[in-house]
């Protein structure tokens, strides 16, 4: 027996060759295949056949397209469009489903691509890195990463590296521009020398480097292009001129382009030139500067990390107090910018394409129902002389028209969703300034929608043959098995999404009502940095803080300072132990002024607060710490070793949710600012909007020369804390809405298909005495049972993933609750009921006469 030609190649050729030529072409190919086999053997014959398929495919596809174009007439297109308009439910269903699926994929896929995957718009951006200092591994296994300290950055910049070409530092700033007597608030960045060079930013005008010496640190400024155009009309003459900032006149030395991604959108750059005391050993622990670097060509991040690790180990030997056991981490700048958003982006990308796939499946289901509905009409048209090719052409045109409508709707919908999502996305999410498809991408999506619509409708028509008798119940059932499985899967997915959504709502409500252990309403907070003039030594700092608090108190404001107030994104993690033999533990350390506890309404459990002039090295601890270290006894008068220094405990205060309502209150240690003080602290003031002006006046009088303080309501910190949860809720909610719509459409198309196929049977049932209501009831029950199976499947998935959900929502959150299960079940069943209503009504209108006429 001679070997057979390759199956796939043969199948391709069979599918693409015109029906009338097919037997001759395939037989000729077989004849030549046999000849080649006799001459060169079976292997070369198979290769020959495959090559025939490969070479012929474009010719045959082009031939098909030409045939289609030749066969189309304007009248036929008009007829197809009119037929679609007569069935608006079907047309809207297909176009709407395509629009939903394509818009989801465009928006979610586009967002993930733009934010996550696209390279930064900087030269050779994959070599740009961020550097962090990593604290020693603690007993609890946690290892927190920090920005770098000024001396650390200085050392990075001063060293000759083998695997880096340079390092630079950047800090955010809020400069004030004094123009025509008005003060305008700008967004600025303070950057170290070499910053623009490291990033590869070249100036549009002037230079992108600062040449000022230490004493002239504030005298130069580089403008960004956007600000230069906005404020100076793009006048190149500005370079060399002067801008007056609140801190004094600055010479404009250059204009640089802005990419909107990194650094974040700013108006101008000022130089970061350290004073000598900031580079002294005492500042090695002040880790607050963002460091960026560039890996040398030919090196990679891993090799460069090793070199940095060696360097940091050396620092540990030279500066054991601040660097022993510390290490450093080098991470890709692009990856680091999106790191907090990566899980959400991954989820969005997967959801976007899942919805696209579901919409395609649903369009196919709707097309099958429509094909079944038209099978008799097709039989009549064939009987009247229409060719099958003409019917196929009609299906292709119908599908393409629906695809075009759906594609255009998807573009509009995607544009709206993108515009909405830009405002809704977190301000901290980078690279969101240029979302939305380019014209080329939009054309490609539109093309996909047109081709997809045409293929699906034509395929459905091909699978449902024209017939003068209705399809058998068995055939309908068989075809429905796949459709039902998909509907069940869609409902399971939607159940999961709705479940997670209700869980997130429940969690938000619970957290919003949870007692934080301190007051946030009517309290303002701002970071105060003492200038060098007020910061000569500990006494000078204490006097400056005292003076500031006195100024505010004399104005009638309750004011206090704390270096580490709750939910202010500070993290001063200090070790403590009861005695030298005890295990080291970690808690939060804050230096506060005497009125802090009263102002924040943190209750006293026992002992006393700090008093004015109290400079003894005492400590007030939180209830959490007291219960952990001194269970069952009063800690008052006992000692606590903090950073290996014994302190007397003078009071115990209530525990505070320092890191937010979902995290357990950490052990807190409070010290008096009169015994120990830092150059940085948060100022906390109670009052209304007048606080902002009062603080400005008090700062001018008490600490002249200090940078302006930006006071914000404490509630904003809380609101910011809730933002990720709100985003999570928004994402899940939006996904649940789209998923619910697609699942409902899927159920509708499956049930509509089933009802169409069973119309003769339903007609007979009606003739035998069944009522419309009983038939509609059967259809509704059928639909609800599918949704019910999906619901059960979704609940099962939910149950299996409850632990992961619990972790995602916070340690104390439950992964499942009775309320969320109940709300989800009601939502899903409501959606299912809405989806089966139309097919049920149609089934109730089955006409026995139609059945007998058909037979």
């Amino acid at each position: 027996m001679s070997p057979r030609s390759p199956c796939l190649a043969r199948a391709i050729l069979r599918a693409l060759t015109p029906r009338e030529d097919r037997p001759f072409v395939l037989a000729d190919l077989d004849e030549r295949f046999e000849r080649v086999r006799l001459d060169g053997g079976p292997r070369s014959a198979r290769w020959w056949y495959r090559r025939q398929a490969l070479v012929s495919t474009p010719v045959l596809v082009a031939n098909r397209a030409a045939e289609l174009a030749r066969g189309l007439r304007a009248g036929e297109i008009r007829r197809i469009v009119r037929a679609l308009l007569r069935r608006p439910q079907y047309a809207a269903g297909v176009a709407g489903t395509l629009a939903l699926g394509f818009a989801s994929a465009m928006v979610l896929g586009g967002l993930a691509w733009q934010v996550w995957l696209q390279p930064l718009p900087l030269p050779d951006s994959e070599r740009l890195v961020r550097v962090y200092e990593l604290e020693p591994v603690a007993a609890d296994g946690e290892r927190v990463r920090f920005p770098v300290s000024p001396p650390f950055l200085d050392a990075l910049r001063a060293r000759e590296w083998r695997h880096f070409t340079g390092f630079a530092g950047i800090l955010g700033s809020s400069p004030e521009w004094v123009v025509d007597g008005d003060t305008r608030h700008l967004t600025g960045a303070i950057v170290s020398p070499g910053f623009f060079e490291v990033l590869g930013i070249t100036p549009l005008h002037g230079r992108a480097e600062f040449r000022g010496r230490d004493g002239e640190a504030g005298a130069e400024v580089v403008l960004t292009e956007e600000f230069w155009v906005r404020a100076f009309g793009g006048d190149p003459g500005v370079v060399g001129g002067t801008v007056h900032l609140a801190s004094g006149p600055h010479t404009v030395v250059g204009v640089v382009p802005q990419n909107g991604e990194y650094p974040e959108t700013v108006d101008l750059f000022t130089p970061l030139l350290w004073a000598s005391h900031q580079l002294a050993a005492g500042f090695r622990g002040a880790r607050y500067v963002e460091a960026v670097g560039r890996v040398a060509p030919g090196s990679d991040i891993d090799v460069a990390s090793d070199e940095l690790a060696t360097f940091v180990a050396g620092l540990g030997e030279a500066w054991p107090d601040s660097h022993v056991d510390w290490s450093a981490e080098v991470v890709s700048l692009r990856a680091d910018l999106v790191r907090p958003f990566r899980p959400a982006l991954r989820l969005l990308l997967a959801a976007g394409f899942a919805f696209l796939a579901l919409s395609v499946v649903n369009v196919f289901g709707l097309s099958m129902a429509r094909a079944l509905e038209r099978s008799r009409e097709s039989a009549v048209r064939i009987a009247l002389g229409a060719s099958r090719a003409r019917l196929a052409r009609g299906a292709l045109v119908e599908g393409a028209a629906l695809g075009l409508a759906g594609g255009i709707a998807a573009l509009v919908l995607a544009r709206i969703l993108t515009a909405v999502s830009v405002g809704w996305l977190p301000a901290t999410m980078p690279r969101t300034t240029d979302l939305g498809a380019s014209p080329l991408e939009a054309a490609a999506w539109l093309g996909c929608a047109v081709v997809g619509g045409a293929v699906m409708v034509a395929l459905a028509r091909r699978l449902v043959p024209p017939a003068d008798t209705p399809m058998s119940g068995a055939r309908v059932s068989r075809d429905l098995v796949g459709g039902r499985a998909i509907v069940v899967g869609q409902f399971a997915l939607t159940t999961l999404l709705v479940g997670v959504g209700t869980l997130a709502i429940e969690r938000s409500v619970e957290l919003a009502h949870r007692d934080l252990g301190y007051r946030v309403d009517g309290v303002w907070v701002g970071l105060v940095a003492l200038p060098q003039t007020a910061n000569p030594d500990s006494n000078g700092r204490r006097d400056a803080w005292s003076s500031l608090l006195r100024e505010l108190e004399s104005g009638g404001y309750a004011a206090a300072i704390s270096t580490n107030p709750p939910m202010a994104r500070t993290n001063n993690r200090f070790d403590y132990r009861r005695s030298a033999e005890d295990e080291q533990k970690f808690g939060q350390y804050a230096i506060v002024s005497h009125g802090y506890f009263d102002l924040m309404e943190i209750p006293f459990v026992e002992g006393r607060t700090f008093t004015r002039g109290d400079s003894t090295p005492s400590v007030i601890i939180s209830e959490t710490l007291a219960e952990e270290v001194y269970p069952g006894e009063s800690p008052l008068g006992l000692t606590l070793s903090i950073l290996q220094q014994d302190r007397e405990i003078v009071g115990v205060v209530g525990s505070a949710a320092h890191f937010g309502p979902d995290r357990p209150a950490p052990p807190m240690m409070y010290a008096s600012y009169e015994a120990e003080n830092w150059a940085f602290s948060r100022l906390v003031v109670a009052g209304g909007d007048a606080v902002v002006g009062a603080v400005e006046e008090a700062m001018n009088r008490a600490i002249p020369g200090a940078a302006p303080v930006s006071m914000v309501p404490y509630e904003r910190h809380v609101s910011e804390w809730f933002r990720p949860l709100r985003i999570q809720l928004g994402i899940v909610g939006a996904l649940a809405v789209v998923g619910g719509l697609l699942a409902s459409l899927g159920l509708y198309s499956a049930i509509a298909f089933q009802v169409r196929g069973r119309m003769p049977e339903l007609g007979i049932r009606m003739a035998l005495g069944a009522t419309g209501a009983s038939i509609a009831g059967r259809v509704v029950r059928g639909g609800l049972s599918l949704a019910g199976i999906g619901l059960a499947g979704g609940f099962m998935l939910w149950w299996l993933g409850r632990r992961a959900l619990s972790e995602a929502m916070g340690a104390s959150a439950s992964g499942v609750s009775a309320t969320s299960v109940g709300a989800t079940a009601l939502t899903i069943l409501g959606l299912a009921l809405a989806a089966v209503a139309i097919p049920a009504r149609r089934a109730a209108e089955a006409d026995p006469l139609e059945t007998f006429r058909g037979d």
């Binding site: 030529d21 037997p23 001759f24 037989a27 000729d28 030549r32 025939q52 012929s56 010719v59 045959l60």
Partner: protein, 110 residues
């Protein structure tokens, strides 16, 4: 410009000439074999059919189905029509006129 039917495409010429060389008409596999023997080109059989169909619409060739009488398979036999012969002749004359130049020596042309 003359009528588009006056000009043959390169592949149309190849197929039409191969069919003409077969004399009394031929079917796809025969045309394929003839082209392979004469030129060494292993052309696509479906492409040959697509081209023959196009030329049939132009009236250059005609086809008939030969049913097997004593076994074997049905064949679609193509024959060159008078218009096809004229088109080939015109193509040949066109090329001969183009080659007829003192600057073109077929033996030396690179």
């Amino acid at each position: 410009m003359g009528d588009a039917r006056e000009y043959l495409g390169e592949f149309e010429q190849v197929v039409l000439l191969a069919l003409a060389r077969l004399g009394d008409g031929g079917y796809g596999a025969e045309i394929h074999a003839e082209i392979l023997d004469a030129t060494g080109r292993d052309v696509s059989i479906p492409a040959v059919y697509v081209t023959l169909k196009r030329m049939e619409r132009k009236g250059l060739v005609s086809s008939r189905t030969r049913r097997p009488t004593g076994g074997g398979r049905a064949l679609r036999i193509y024959t060159v029509e008078a218009e096809g012969s004229r088109a080939l002749q015109r193509s040949r004359e066109l090329f001969e006129r183009l080659w007829d130049s003192p600057h073109l020596d077929p033996g030396q042309a690179s």
